[in-house]
């Protein structure tokens, strides 16, 4: 029994998303940032190896891209910001500390698809450990690659809800052209924080499980659903789940314990003395905002309202820059058909959307309904997502029509 069908328990789900930026050079040195499939330790220098005497010099393009991502995610930007050191020992961290941002991230308090984004900050990636038999080898090509971390509030109540959000983040990152956001190559990495509580319990649970190293949307959904089930069983048998980090086994669809956090790590954060604090101006931020391309949600809205395409088509076309550019050359239904049919369209059984389910969803989500009434198109996608969650595969156009009819009543 999954949490979203089990009304005794409510899922508390949040995400940390890491995006490796596709800048030419690394975050604090001139080495190439693109490390995929390169011979190990061929893209290294004194700085990213943390050799004695070396100093970090921040990559201004990476900082700008991080801020632009924050803007695209509806964040406020801290005009004064800084880097901090996070001190801990691990073989993939040659300096003994990671340069990251602690109390003043570049971006904070954003919102996407009705979910709160706590912060978006800049840091450096670690080296990559390769386990070979009894040996562990270290490849420093990845050390110091610019990494953006997006942290959400734990305000997701279902895995579908989460996947919808994560896909939108990926689409935005790609629209900005700042990363390939390719999960298989590790340029987009997902971490889910999962716990469950009684629906009427006002506070967050006093434990949380981190699920890490999952490299597809499908698997993260499976992992979340498995995890919720596991935690319900534990709690219903009177046990509290152990606070730990778990991985996902693709073969069995199970999560497995990786590391139990005995006690909270003390990272001894302090301001990075090798990098002066950063001061942006409002004008600078606004000029970067003006540089933002049309984001997927805006494109979808345009396709639906201006060109009267179905939401299904809109999602497909908005998710592919090339296709969208093609469509604009001859914005017609025929062109959309041609473009969409050129690619293999997933055929899915259409579950019947009944009025009753839609009514229930609308009643349970008054804020989204109000948003939609006030013209926020994103709320529509959210509501469609909720219906989809209840019924599985649905006819999106039909669902949209039913929702819109209900709203206009």
């Amino acid at each position: 029994m999954f949490a979203n069908r089990n009304f005794n328990w409510q899922m508390v789900l949040g995400f940390e998303v890491h995006i490796e930026l596709a800048t030419l050079s690394k975050m604090f040195c001139g080495c190439p940032a693109d490390h995929f499939a390169k011979a190990p330790n061929t893209q290294v220098c004194p700085v990213c190896l943390g050799l004695p005497g070396s100093l970090p010099v921040p990559n201004t393009k990476a900082i700008k891209w991080c801020v632009k991502l924050g803007l695209a995610l509806g964040c406020d930007i801290n005009l004064f910001s800084k880097f901090d050191r996070k001190n801990y020992f691990y073989p993939d961290l040659p300096k003994g500390y990671q340069i990251t941002q602690y109390d003043i991230p570049f971006c904070h308090d954003g919102e996407l698809l009705g979910h709160k984004i706590k912060r978006v900050h800049m840091e450096e990636d670690t080296a990559k450990l390769q386990h070979q038999g009894n040996a562990t080898l270290i490849d420093f090509n990845r050390s110091g690659v610019p990494l953006v971390e997006i942290v959400t509030e734990p305000d997701f109540v279902s895995s579908d809800d989460g996947i919808l959000f994560l896909k939108e983040v990926q689409a935005i990152v790609r629209a900005l052209g700042i990363s390939t956001a390719d999960m298989e190559k590790g340029s987009m990495r997902l971490e889910a924080n999962i716990s469950i509580k009684r629906p009427d319990h006002p506070r967050l649970p006093d434990y949380k499980i981190e699920v890490k190293n999952v490299n597809s949307f499908r698997f993260i959904k499976k992992a979340i659903d498995f995890e919720v089930n596991r935690q319900i069983q534990l709690l219903e048998s009177g046990q509290t789940p152990v606070q730990e980090t778990r991985g996902f086994k693709e073969a069995t669809g199970e999560t497995v314990s990786q590391r139990v956090k005995e006690e909270a790590n003390d990272y001894r954060y302090f301001p990075e003395p090798d990098i002066p604090p950063l001061q942006f101006t409002k004008a600078q931020i606004e000029s970067w905002r003006k540089e933002l391309p049309q984001l997927p949600a805006q494109v979808q809205e345009e396709l639906i309202h201006k060109y009267h395409l179905s939401p299904q088509y809109a999602v497909i076309i908005s998710g592919n820059q090339e296709m969208y550019a093609q469509f604009l050359k001859n914005p017609s239904k025929a062109m959309a058909d041609a473009l969409v049919n050129k690619r293999p369209v997933q055929t899915t059984p259409v579950a019947e959307v009944n009025q009753e389910v839609v009514n229930k969803i609308l009643a349970a989500n008054p804020k989204a309904v109000a948003d939609l009434k006030s013209g926020k198109q994103q709320a529509l996608f959210f509501l469609i997502g909720q219906v989809k969650k209840q019924l599985g595969n649905i006819d999106v156009s039909l669902t949209q029509r039913i929702i819109e009819e209900n709203i206009s009543k």
């Binding site: 004194p46 943390g50 050799l51 004695p52 005497g53 070396s54 100093l55 970090p56 010099v57 921040p58 050191r85 001190n87 020992f89 073989p91 040659p94 300096k95 003994g96 500390y97 909270a264 003390d266 001894r268 954060y269 302090f270 003395p273 090798d274 990098i275 002066p276």
Partner: protein, 464 residues
């Protein structure tokens, strides 16, 4: 001796072909062979043959060309062992040259070796070293000062012409004072730190050590400036240290902070500082008493913040990458790592690290206020003449207090020039320091130059 002369004088003779770089190099090598066994100034010597080969080939492109120099062993040198005076790095061969090393070598100076110091800069006497203490050339039962004792001792005993020192809490000035030479702690950011093995990143500064203010001006002219490898290096234009050197100090106001002249200051040192003040009056400056009320917190601030940074900076020497393990750290270094780790820990950060940062801001403001009333500040460097070997290393608190007049400078980031101002009756050198506002190196060097035109402390050398 040739090496008694200033760099400018040597450069002039080289240009006129009265002497050759080989002549100077030979003299230094001979002096090293003779004096270093008594002084222990070197950790690593460059092979004599390589030095002479280089001297033969050198092209005279700058006044520094063909001039032999040494480095505090905190600067990484490509293919030449760099230890920071610690057994943790006892066999470490760097992959690259520090920016300052690159600049001095490009100017044509000839590197003779890497010098003794307190390990990682942790100390004020060059006793906290894994290579045996450096001895004071004026009295080998006494310390040479620290942390840069090796470079200072080598200069005063004429083993080289100049050195690149590094000052985190007094490490250029303290040994300059106790060895009777001239050293400049530059404004934070004036000279690139890239390739300087970090002790405390927000305090470390790279500067020249030599016999005279004029030499320091010449060297600074070559090493100052912004570096794309150091984000904390300043974009401000480099001053004109040399051509304006003779402008004098007529009409300048020199403040003497009462907090630096009171309790704990050896009367012999105090007397010489007052005599020097009179000399500045004779040169046309006006002496005034000033106050730096927050300076009494400087030792506490420095010994919280510098260890905090060092606890992080030294984390990379984890026994995996550089050969030797953490057990090779000395007790003094372990003490600093422990203090810093504690000050940054959850639950203590606000009471220690954060509080110290707030106090640091107050010290900076104090200086800013004083510099509205005076152009320069005159003070002692160390509260006492050079101590006996063993005196400081066996008393950690006394060791910290030896820095009492120097750490405020690094805490505020301002520059300071250390220069000799006399001798005790038993023949030990005493130094003084002039501090100035941010980026006031020009004025400091002018004052030092003016003083050295009418005194001869800086030309005296020990009889070894």
């Amino acid at each position: 001796m040739l090496i008694d002369e200033t760099i400018a004088s040597l450069a002039n003779k080289l240009k006129k072909k009265e002497i050759s770089p080989v002549d100077i190099a030979k003299e230094c090598l001979k002096q090293i062979e003779k004096q270093n066994p008594k002084i222990n100034a070197f950790i690593t010597q460059v092979d004599s043959k390589a030095v002479l080969d280089q001297a033969k080939k050198i092209k005279l492109t700058t006044p520094l060309s063909g001039i032999p120099y040494v480095l505090k062993d905190v600067y990484v040198t490509k293919d030449l062992r760099t230890t920071a005076a610690s057994n943790v790095l006892s066999d470490y061969i760097p992959q690259y040259d520090a920016t300052v090393v690159h600049k001095v070598n490009s100017a044509g100076s000839i590197l003779l070796g890497k010098m003794n110091m307190d390990a990682w800069g942790h100390g004020g006497s060059t006793e906290n070293t894994d290579f045996g203490p450096a001895k004071n050339p004026w009295d080998i039962t006494r310390v040479a000062g620290g942390s840069g004792g090796g470079p200072a001792a080598a200069i005063v005993s004429r083993m080289c012409s100049f050195a690149i020192g590094e000052d985190t809490g007094g490490s250029i000035r303290n040994p300059a004072g106790w060895c009777g030479i001239t050293g400049l702690k530059v404004t934070y950011g004036r000279v690139s730190r890239y390739g300087s093995i970090a002790y405390a990143s927000s305090f470390d500064s790279v500067g020249p050590t030599a016999k005279t203010a004029e030499d320091c001006a010449l060297i600074l002219q070559h090493i100052a400036g912004q570096d794309p490898h150091d984000a904390t290096s300043s974009p401000l234009p480099v001053g004109d240290y040399l051509s304006r050197l003779e402008e004098g100090i007529q009409g300048k106001v020199i403040g003497v902070p009462k907090e630096f002249m009171g309790e704990g200051l050896d009367p012999k040192v105090k007397k010489l500082i007052l005599v020097a003040a009179q000399k500045f009056t004779d040169l046309g400056a006006k002496i005034e008493e000033v106050s730096l009320p927050t300076s009494k917190y400087a030792i506490s601030v420095y010994y919280l913040l510098a260890p905090s940074e060092t606890s992080s900076n030294l984390a990379r020497y984890d026994g995996i990458r550089y050969g030797n393990g953490r057990d090779k750290f000395t007790p003094e270094t372990m003490r600093r790592i422990m203090i810093g780790t504690y000050a940054l820990s959850a639950g203590y950060y606000d009471a220690y690290y954060k509080k110290a940062q707030q106090a640091r801001t107050l010290i900076i403001k104090d200086y800013q206020k004083v510099f509205t009333k005076c152009d320069l500040i005159l003070s002692p460097i160390s509260p006492t003449p050079p101590t006996k070997l063993g005196e400081l290393i066996n008393d950690p608190v006394k060791n910290m207090l030896a820095d009492i007049y120097t750490v405020t400078t690094n805490t505020a980031g301002i520059p300071a020039l250390a220069l000799p101002c006399g001798f005790t009756r038993s023949g030990l050198p005493i130094g003084m320091q002039l501090q100035g506002p941010m980026f006031s190196e020009e004025v400091l060097l002018q004052a030092g130059y003016a003083y050295q035109q009418v005194t001869d402390w800086h030309v005296r050398k020990p009889q070894l």
